[in-house]
Symmetry: C2
Subunit: 206 residues, 2 copies
DNA sequence: TGTAATTTTATACGTTGTTCAAAAATGCAC
DNA sequence: GTGCATTTTTGAACAACGTATAAAATTACA
């Protein structure tokens, strides 16, 4: 494979992108209408008018369709979020805001998020090589931490991916708490406690 | 496990336990000999002399066999570990020791524990997870935290399962770091950093 | 236009995990 | 022990995932 220069996208490239877009669109529609598990790959293929093998050529597993969709959504909102975050005074404020923002968006479409999330975790767990670039949620968190490190709020000697992982974990805890007991779930309080734990640690503040 | 109450376990119970033991034993043998992916459930069923349906009745997914095996191993070593932990001076010492101990045990086995690890992470990430009693690793960590709370080292106002989850997450980070780049992996250093992050948080120690 | 390379299609396949009715084993009352 | 209800196992068929392969279609390029 030669490297294609940016300007001219070949017809193949364009067709590929069209296919990908159409597949994602129809798949997400089906997921929302009948649920993720209830939607089969053959159904998606049929609906998007490609052969099953072609579908698997684009997305090696069903969850990869979700991944692509979520990634796009995140990218669209990234710049705007960064803009808002930069106006905030400190790291706790930023973390609380971003966690609330994203958790709120998730509580509605729970199944889709759950499938996507488990897939991501599984991928990361089984990857034997380092993931260089952050994307989506992790990128956003990485930038918040970067801001905090610049002002001296956040430790610099700990590897960035550990810090990002910590916040990602807080995020999971929050969502899990919601699903365990939606009735008594207090978003503000939960986010506050989890953020505080990440920032100040388990040590007793004597 | 507490003292075994000798009184009658029914024949059905005994047969079930026998079956379970035999299945785990033969499955683990096959996993070690030909690998996890290369061993099919039908093969396990045949070798353990039960029907496929029965096998699935005991273990709803292949990985659950691994889980049971690991759980048993953990329970066997629990008392001894608690004994050692009680002799240690403080929480960081205890956490570092137990993380090193367990991670070391994992690194020796390779594929089998990677599969088990991914399965556990997946379960942990699942949003529907119910918080029953702590078991295995989580129980051990809960006891360490309890010790720390008694001496005032560890915060009491944060829910226990959040604290346990934090350490579990540290554990995951450590193992992941190993899987991503086994060559440059420094167990002592990694455990030290992760433990420190959990206990002291992300905040810069100014 | 002709040719080589890539992509899509059609199809068959192996594995996981489910379902269901029939058969077997078990528990329990008599 | 005998009879009966309940649970468990069995066997077989089944749906869906994901893979493999060869033929057909499409593309790039000379």
């Amino acid at each position: 494979m030669r490297i294609q220069q940016a300007p001219a996208k070949s017809r193949t490239e364009r067709k590929k992108e069209e296919n990908k877009k159409r597949i994602i669109l129809t798949a997400m529609e089906l997921f929302k209408r009948q649920g993720f598990d209830q939607t089969t790959m053959e159904q998606i293929a049929g609906q998007a008018d490609v052969c099953k093998g072609t579908l698997y050529n684009y997305f090696p597993v069903k969850e990869a369709i979700l991944e692509e969709h979520v990634k796009e959504k995140f990218q669209n909102e990234h710049e705007e979020r960064i803009r808002k975050l930069k106006k905030m005074p400190d790291t706790p404020t930023r973390l609380v805001w971003v966690l609330q923002e994203i958790v709120k968006g998730i509580l509605e479409q729970n199944e889709i998020f759950e499938k996507h999330f488990i897939y991501r975790v599984k991928k990361i767990s089984s990857l034997k090589r380092e993931e260089k670039n952050f994307d989506g949620f992790r990128l956003l968190v990485a930038e918040i931490i970067g801001m905090g490190q610049e002002t001296g709020e956040i430790r610099r000697e700990v590897p960035l991916n550990l810090l990002v992982g910590l916040i990602e974990h807080a995020f999971i805890q929050i969502v899990q708490k919601y699903y365990r007991d939606p009735e008594s779930f207090d978003l503000d309080e939960t986010v506050r406690v989890c953020t505080d734990l990440c920032i100040n640690g388990m040590r007793s503040t004597r």
